[in-house]
């Protein structure tokens, strides 16, 4: 099947299988930040943006992205680096395996919600599982990051 898709600003054209997942397609283009985790659409490890919205690339056919724009963590390097520093400051990372999907969703939340409450933050990120941290460090990091962003720093 013919596909034309923009990934992180670069246009790709390919002939792919009808049942190829978006996750496998972006990884075939070197975007290894998106990872295969639970494969039951629960863990959030494979999160990418499709037309600016966070989706589970393990559950979207690549053909669904035809003529659309996909963003992975590789395309958000500066923002990811900035938020990553807050995670590090709060000791919010341990193995770091879930971080790419988690950061993609935090950045999507920042774009979508204005001054989210703690409850809204927890609810927005409930589809990102972390088996190391217990989430408290991450929550502190998000709050401090959003606070800085709201000051326009």
């Amino acid at each position: 099947m013919e596909i034309k898709v923009k990934i992180n600003g670069k246009v790709y054209q390919d002939n792919i299988d009808a049942d190829m997942l978006l996750l496998d397609y972006v990884r075939s283009k070197g975007c290894y930040s998106a990872k295969r985790g639970c494969e039951t659409a629960n863990c959030g490890l494979c999160t990418v943006w499709l037309e600016g919205k966070p989706v589970l690339s393990c559950s979207v056919l690549a053909m669904k992205a035809n003529n659309k724009e996909v963003t992975t963590l590789e395309g958000l390097e500066e923002e990811a680096k900035e938020f990553g520093a807050f995670l590090a400051d709060e000791g919010a990372e341990q193995c770091g395996f879930c971080s790419p999907g988690f950061i993609m969703n935090v950045l999507a939340m920042k774009n979508e919600l204005e001054n989210p409450t703690e409850e809204e933050i927890k609810e927005y990120l409930s589809g990102n599982l972390c088996r190391c941290t217990g989430y408290m460090g991450q929550l502190r990091a998000i709050k401090k990051y959003l606070e800085q962003k709201s000051k326009g720093e």
Binding site: A41, V55, L56, S59, V60, K64, N105, Y124, S126, G127
Partner: protein, 258 residues
């Protein structure tokens, strides 16, 4: 994960229906449930070109396209203005935002899943489905039917003065509900639906007055106990679900102000 030979973007509902007649074809919505299967399809049919991803309001009804995502149901201003927080409440527990950006209302309603939150809510409303080639039928009728090759186009909700309470019980956040209950006061009448039994949602007949008395609520609870079937699975027993159904129905009526 299923396999497929061809990915076809349908140009019309008629074309989608003709393609879907073949036993080894299927329509893909959000495909979150479908991907868990190991089926082999010849054709998978994409409806995204049919403009079924819109929520539209007319003087008499709200029309929700089958390809509208659960996240859109959660955040849409038309739905909020007409139904308060009911749609948000019915989907906000479903996994996470990324999941709800993928999952579609059409997939949930067509699937008629025994755990479906959204079907439970819609059953309590004055709601219909537009199906090709059948036409427009009440959702409670559609919910009883087997999955056929029909194409679900839209969910249509007639406008009234709605007051809705949607309640669920879950073992953990983001999990399937072990019981779902939706009570809607539509103008002066009540509609009560019970879902996640864990069978398909059902509408429960009731004789509630516009301001139900304690006696009327107890009568309805007894009616639920006697007439609604509940099953057991790894999440909860049928007996527990029956108790939950009675208490959540009572709470929902009280939330509405009955």
């Amino acid at each position: 994960m299923f396999t497929a030979d061809n990915y076809i973007v349908a140009n019309s509902v008629e074309e989608a229906y003709e393609l879907n007649k073949a036993r080894n074809s299927t329509v893909v919505g959000g495909m979150l449930w479908l991907k868990m299967s190991n089926k082999k399809f010849k054709n998978i049919i994409d409806l995204s070109k049919l403009e079924l991803d819109k929520i539209e309001e007319t003087e008499e009804e709200i029309q929700i396209g089958a390809m509208v995502s659960l996240r859109e149901l959660e955040t849409n201003e038309i739905l909020k203005a007409n139904f308060g927080e009911a749609f948000k409440e019915s989907v906000r527990h479903i996994v996470g935002v990324q999941f709800r950006n993928c999952a579609t209302i059409g997939g949930s309603v067509y699937g008629r899943f025994g755990f479906s939150d959204i079907l439970t809510l819609l059953m309590s409303l004055d709601c219909y489905v537009k199906v090709y080639p059948t036409g427009i039928i009440p959702i409670e009728e559609y919910a009883k039917q087997k999955q056929e090759n029909e194409i679900l186009e839209k969910i249509i909700i007639k406008k009234h003065n709605y007051n809705i309470s949607y309640l669920t019980q879950r073992l953990t956040k983001t999990d399937f509900p072990i019981l779902a209950c939706s009570v809607a006061k539509i103008d002066d009448k009540y509609r009560v639906s019970i879902g996640a039994r864990p069978m398909r949602a059902v509408l429960v007949e009731n004789e509630l007055s516009s301001n139900p008395t304690e006696e009327e609520i107890v009568k309805l609870q007894n009616h639920i106990e006697e007439t609604v079937k509940f099953g057991s699975n790894m999440r909860a027993s049928g007996e527990y679900r029956k108790l939950l159904a009675k208490i959540l129905t009572k709470r929902a009526i009280e939330n509405i102000g009955g």
